[in-house]
Subunit: 568 residues, 2 copies
Amino acid sequence: MSGHPLTAVDLLLHNAQVVDVVRLRTYRGWVGVRNGKIQYAEEGEPPAGLEAAQTLDLEGQFLAPGLIDAHMHIESSLTTPRRFQEAALRHGTTTLLADPHELANVFGPSGVQYLLDATEGLDLQVYVALPSCVPATDFSLETSGGEITAADVTRLADHPRVRALGEVMDYQGLARPGSRLPGIIEAAQARGLLIEGHTPTLGGPVLSDYAAHGVLSDHTLSTPAKLYEQLSKGFTVMLQEKSLNREVVEALHGLPDRSRVLLVTDDIMPNRLIGGHLSLIVRAAVKHGLNPLEAMAMASLRPAMYLGLRDAGLIAPGRRADLVVLPDLADFRPSRVFVGGTPVFPGERPLPDSPLSPPGAELTRAPSRPAEFQLLLPDGRHALAVIGMNDRNTFTTLNYEPQAVVGGEIQDPEVTRVAVLQRSGDAPPSLGFLRGLGLTSGAFATTLAHDSHNLLVFGQDTAEISRAVNHLLTFGGGMVFLDGEETLYLPLEVGGIISDAPLAETAAAFDRIEAALRARGVTHLNPLLFLSIFSLSVSPAFKLTDLGLLDVERRSLIPLVQQLERAP
Amino acid sequence: MSGHPLTAVDLLLHNAQVVDVVRLRTYRGWVGVRNGKIQYAEEGEPPAGLEAAQTLDLEGQFLAPGLIDAHMHIESSLTTPRRFQEAALRHGTTTLLADPHELANVFGPSGVQYLLDATEGLDLQVYVALPSCVPATDFSLETSGGEITAADVTRLADHPRVRALGEVMDYQGLARPGSRLPGIIEAAQARGLLIEGHTPTLGGPVLSDYAAHGVLSDHTLSTPAKLYEQLSKGFTVMLQEKSLNREVVEALHGLPDRSRVLLVTDDIMPNRLIGGHLSLIVRAAVKHGLNPLEAMAMASLRPAMYLGLRDAGLIAPGRRADLVVLPDLADFRPSRVFVGGTPVFPGERPLPDSPLSPPGAELTRAPSRPAEFQLLLPDGRHALAVIGMNDRNTFTTLNYEPQAVVGGEIQDPEVTRVAVLQRSGDAPPSLGFLRGLGLTSGAFATTLAHDSHNLLVFGQDTAEISRAVNHLLTFGGGMVFLDGEETLYLPLEVGGIISDAPLAETAAAFDRIEAALRARGVTHLNPLLFLSIFSLSVSPAFKLTDLGLLDVERRSLIPLVQQLERAP
């Protein structure tokens, strides 16, 4: 055996503390890379006779496998895939499963195809989950853009990077008579896709009825009891940052087998992506008491096993040389990153060519007039539906309040006017009112309005509202905040939801708009998140769609004015 | 949630101790089965309103998932798949990955197709690994039957139950110039197959070179050090019975993550299969100190994950209702077995229809004459190659001994005559000699002669040898032992290697032949195993093929008579 000649390698990394995510240990050793794959991962010093085209002394730094994010949405970072890649790779995320839920809602199947095309040939390995619930609700509750059918799933599943059906919404969606979901799940199973779940509330036999459809994972807010029940019921449990706390980490320690628990990002806002990606979740887990090696295994080997990726997730022969050099084990901040043996950080990689946008879904609406946002009511007091909110999450309430209306305008300065406009055509806006936002002046308009991404606008004054809408129409979608002389905007030129600008620019514009809202009295923890969810027809409890005020639980539209319907 | 109506089930199993192989616990609970799948797996008592077509009170017995054997050869039990199923199901094995290495060696690709056809529609879920090393050596060292090429792999991989490429023999086979193996592995990887290994001896960078070809598992004799190195190098380690001892179990306890360690059977002789299957390995692991729940996880959920079977391996909603009822947790002896919710034990299931044999590979040789087994040497002393053996394993030695030859016959009663004959044609037998078997009289002939399954015969007398061969030829292959008036035989009518007789008959005939050999002085621990390996051209160190005496390590034929070649 000793006479066996070693294979020459392209890259030799030595004097490393190699992270072994199988045995959850580190060892002083070396790694040889050949043709983009790991040829050797050995303890000790490299043998004298080993030929290496390039040698790098890691000076005792840790060498870990690239992180793998098994559940996430690139659109949440408001960036195109190639801009997302720039940001994610430097933080050590080298592989992910992206669910283009927003692109599909705007563009339909061609939004999914765009994601596949725009991730082709990237350094970042992007696998794709086909969105299962597009549109989120029946068409009668709102006007939505895209639709993904069982036939689309069958066709798109042919792509070798399509691995999963994206989050199947929980019980209601499956059990509703006439639901398209069971057929979509069957189509996905027939093509061998993983079936991803989304079940914030189910437990007991109801959770089993849901899982019996073939749902394999959940990534919603977890607790120790939910974690345990879901594991026993065969779920792979994906912990995102909001699920990580001391209790959940203690529950993890109580498990003899943690191989079916993963760390995922789900949604990372652009301004957070500047500081980390899946690394943020690893750091959060460690902060709450999880062993860093365990946290890394939950973000590398275990997601690879879940996704069926046999060539990634650990530093072992035959695997992709997706490698991260870490000065510190607990604080996952890479000093170097390699993808397929190629250094991708530090240093700039050329921006890859990419298709710029899927076809369709242009913002073709004619400019608005302030009068469109006025109530067609006689002057006087009316019982108006006013949505209530809190500062922490996106839950809302509803109350009919007596409000004085003069010239179609309400007079209460503590109530914000809201409107939703279809992206094209000339249907009148639907109008609503919101108490508790705190906005004192100015207007905010956005096409980032989950899930249908119609044009959503908030403001204190109908003239400003109209001006914000019209400004947004001039650059194809995104976000606008204006207040008198001040105008801030974030163009999201791909479907009005993502931008191909460098992430730093997108994040800065995002921050400026958020700061402007806060400066005008908005007190919500995540104002832009709250506002962009205000039209989401599956988010409890009361939302505004382009067709009117929605009671989400009852799945019905309700009148804006009690007893007195708004005139047509 | 409480108002949710439960789904009616076909079968309700209650008052059970349900085995949870994810959390490695049992819980008092109930399981509901619908359409062959698990609909509910819940703690406590079933709710009053649950509709069930059939209800079974398990009276506190354990309910475990059916066992999954990730590496095995059905042919080792000398049975056809439908007879194997009868035997395996009652011991709780409900799913397996079969590598038809012997069928392929005899029949080539049609042997693999036969296995696929003969396992279609069985209760037992049979996935298939395509044999990678058929024939085991170059044709110049022996005459072999079947051959599996890269093109065969590509074609056969289309079958939905083909999951893997079977055991890639270790370093030599991969590194040899002109080896077909790398091309076969590439073909298998291109079709998404798992690549199974077989590496008894490799370690360090040489093991890495082997693994870098994409090899994902090993099932050969393990040790704590080998287990640890292989896990770190990305192998899934499969422990068969001979690998299980207190040291290896202690090494398992030292691992924080045991999800990549499996229990497998590899080879189970027919007389052992009467008493258990993968259950034997589970019991052995428990005997050596492994927690029974851990042992079960290594033989259910973990092989399912390795094989990419998302619908099996645990008792959870959406999974196949492959269930085993156990009176005792540590002693895995099922009192009931269900497959897809259907009871398969106790009670008889109808024997399924099955194709009876692949085409080709008939035993068409003309009857032999005693003179064919005599040496063509003048009377006198000659330096003859005599193979040496031990009583425990299949390792052999070689020594040239001066032996008196009279009339072509050696005179030493402690040396057994051996011959290998091609299955067809009229090439003369190759002759050899074996010291240490202990056989005092009679002759044993078999077509079960790994891997090429030529006709292998042992005896003390050339007339008996010829008679044994000729008797074997009359029934198409199998095993014969005869000694004067006594004749024992085991027909293996499918290719001379497996039988469609009920397992009890096959096992009884096997036992009778083994007992007869022992009664004639044979002292080896596993005589029929030793004898059937005597022609295996990759088994160290000296073997006899139809072309002559083989030095396995040097991969060359060597003369039977020193200095004096046997006359043509």
